[in-house]
Subunit: 530 residues, 2 copies
Amino acid sequence: MAMKLASVLLLMQLSGHFSSGTCGKVLVWPTEYSHWMNMKTILDELVQRGHEVTVLTHSASILIDRKQATSIKFEVFPTSLTKSDFEDVIIQLIDKWIYDLPKDTFWSYFSQVQEIMWRFSEIMMKFCKGAVLNKKLMTRLQESKFDVVLADAIAPCGELLAEILKTPLVYSLCLSPGNQYEKHGGGLLFPPSYVPVLMSELSDQMTFMERVKNMIYVLYFDFWFQTLNMKEWDQFYSEVLGKTTTLYETMKKADMWLIRNYWDFDFPRPFLPNFDFVGGLHCKPANPLPKEMEDFVQSSGENGVVVFSLGSMLSNMTEERANVIASALAQIPQKVLWRYDGKKPDILGPNTRLYKWLPQNDLLGHPKTKAFITHGGANGVYEAIYHGVPMVGIPLFADQPDNVAHMKAKGAAVRVDFNTMSSTDLLSALRTVINDPMYKENAMKLSRIHHDQPVKPLDRAVFWIEFVMRHKGAKHLRVAAHDLPWFQYHSLDVLGFLLACVATAIFVIMKCSMCFWWMIATAGKKAKRE
Amino acid sequence: MAMKLASVLLLMQLSGHFSSGTCGKVLVWPTEYSHWMNMKTILDELVQRGHEVTVLTHSASILIDRKQATSIKFEVFPTSLTKSDFEDVIIQLIDKWIYDLPKDTFWSYFSQVQEIMWRFSEIMMKFCKGAVLNKKLMTRLQESKFDVVLADAIAPCGELLAEILKTPLVYSLCLSPGNQYEKHGGGLLFPPSYVPVLMSELSDQMTFMERVKNMIYVLYFDFWFQTLNMKEWDQFYSEVLGKTTTLYETMKKADMWLIRNYWDFDFPRPFLPNFDFVGGLHCKPANPLPKEMEDFVQSSGENGVVVFSLGSMLSNMTEERANVIASALAQIPQKVLWRYDGKKPDILGPNTRLYKWLPQNDLLGHPKTKAFITHGGANGVYEAIYHGVPMVGIPLFADQPDNVAHMKAKGAAVRVDFNTMSSTDLLSALRTVINDPMYKENAMKLSRIHHDQPVKPLDRAVFWIEFVMRHKGAKHLRVAAHDLPWFQYHSLDVLGFLLACVATAIFVIMKCSMCFWWMIATAGKKAKRE
């Protein structure tokens, strides 16, 4: 009885908390593909809770479909790129990353990655200028009096918009190359001894040589690699805001960072009060499958099925690669549902069906699913964690190798290399994750951790956006570190001063001692003479 | 409609989360006075949720009243101290801190504080030995198969019990001197440039000289000041566990740290995933006052009342101090409720009533309350934050000066000094917090922040204790840093290795260059000779 009463009281308290959100106006600066899919989950929830959501986007936008999402408003500004130009550039850059990147040396690899990043950055700046320098648009936005800007931190501009519109800012971010944005824009600490740098593919348990590698990555990312052509961004921000500033300085003003990660996926590390980890916010229980698909899944019997998707960004898979994969799939007793849009492989097994699109979440939540072959995109990995499905990771680009490395370190995945794997490699990996119960056990453990949080990720994300609207910011969560120049932040001025004091004290003591001894010596000589 | 449905769904999700807690067995290692009062709030909630709570305490325990709390089990072990001996020692040490500490120099002050701490530490070790070396007791505890040890980190022993009983460990902690436990036992980072060390009485906005002071405090606490007689504790832990270990090493195994603070009270700073900030968990809405008290409060009319308590630890207030206070109180138009147990001051004003005990929370939550005169104990300050009441702080000892400094920095309090204040000082402070609307405004702002959290502090505390019981720990929240020796944690081995590599490379290049030049020079000479 007491328990029941406590539960009711608890529910009342919690409902009181959430219903206190005033309905506000949210301006969104989104990015494309998986980033948009994740962001849209938050926007749909905000709309459902009565907020007015306006997405600010350019006319070349690919995935941001203004027709589909009728409850969300769209403010579209023109850009000189066409949708197909934009798509071509993206595919070209991603293809380069997947197929053409030299993996022989560290320098050649990262110089090419940097080149790709800079191309992205150029396009992002074009879009940013398209918005910010469009006077009519900016006047309209200013008149709209938004309560908060919600921006994906991976594409700069959101912080500039928030600054111009004098509006609080909430970031949504998956990860940034080398963790540069969270570090320099958000003030997070990444101790190199146990926090692996993003793109290093390391875990939090490192050998000595791995720690050396991680330190080299830290130094490289901090002092050499630039995700963006920083000078141009800094100059643009300074021009627009009419004061000398930088992109990172402007990012520091964010009220809240909603990181699309959690300690089921990432390794525990230090963070700050204005960071919340809302990874897997898009995950939800499985819906029933379409009849044909359900029949196929059920036909697998005891063996179950394998779900296979390399995401929407992979095009131009060679016939050779497709056959290597098909050959491996043909040799397992499970049925396979493969999301594949290319020419049908010659040696496709009777157990494998190709689909142009898969209801991935519903399939991963199906009790017959034994394994997930994935490129390691964060959204897909989170769906696998949510449903407790072990993985075979075939990472392609960006954060995918790290995501797979994380799942591997947590014992829920085996990794194979897309360009070099043989049928035997893939087959062996598949058999391992399906037949070794440890993988399922670890995936279930991650799932249990994921489901057992005080508040669900999506509710927390929405809570903080509403909080920032209610309180016109969240200044009480913002560390004073953001107001300090780097030498003060690292206490270099204080240490310099204390060392100078110690040195002066030593100098004075030595001088006094020397004077004292000199006086004694002089007195001694005088005495001898007398 | 959509909003309503969303709310219902949300409530269902949240209720699902909380009710999933299996009922378990909790062993508690508590401390006395305000620490116990706070801990008891958690224990009552655990009992109400169906858990079996056993408090392990010694026969000299003061506040831990075994008769009052009938739903909580008590395991009492004998100790050579009597209750009155123990109480005398505590009062004697606190009195020394309040009245006799030399405040003229840093060294003399802290050497005395250290002496007081060591005396406490000796007593705590006596109690710890009384429990751990009591074989019958330990066998009984082992047989009870507890699911978690909940310990106040301020008094060591909880971590040793958890280690012996092979049980997960959750800490509750307000603050430790110089933040030493959270730093060395919990792995928290305290960047000296913007995180004021506890006992420095600084804020997060420091001038250059304040940052110098903070750095000196950091160095002093890290390398000189010892809260505990560490060697003895380390030796005792090593003996009991049969391996060379230390107190801090044992503390590092804690699954969760529930810190009785939040960003309404403290300044934002870095923390780790296994830390949650549950400050104010004991706060609750005000109950009606007893009739006589309510009548007195209502008789204040528009002017309202002032609530005054210096806590339960202050004894032996001199008549002179009592008269200074009474004289100031007599001069304000408000009615005053003063918790005071000494001889009635000669010049007590007609507006002031003395009480041996006050329903502090109910009074602070009364709409007539205009200000709170407090010694700055964390529990009382949190009650003032909860109800949005501005404060006059008269700190006495321990963390109280820092608590008051925090409230002062946040614009919700004025500080006066207990030993040196005149009636005019107290009167001026009181008039300021009552008549300057900024203080009420800031107190209300803190109150709004406090009430607007995704989950209430007490519910979060209980959630994590239940989580640790459900999952037999919370290893996924524990940073890998805890497994690294200090030189690896600070990457000194890696930096040394990289410097050695660079030095070797420079040496080899220089040697080769010298060889090369020598060969050229030799060739030149030969050519000349020929």
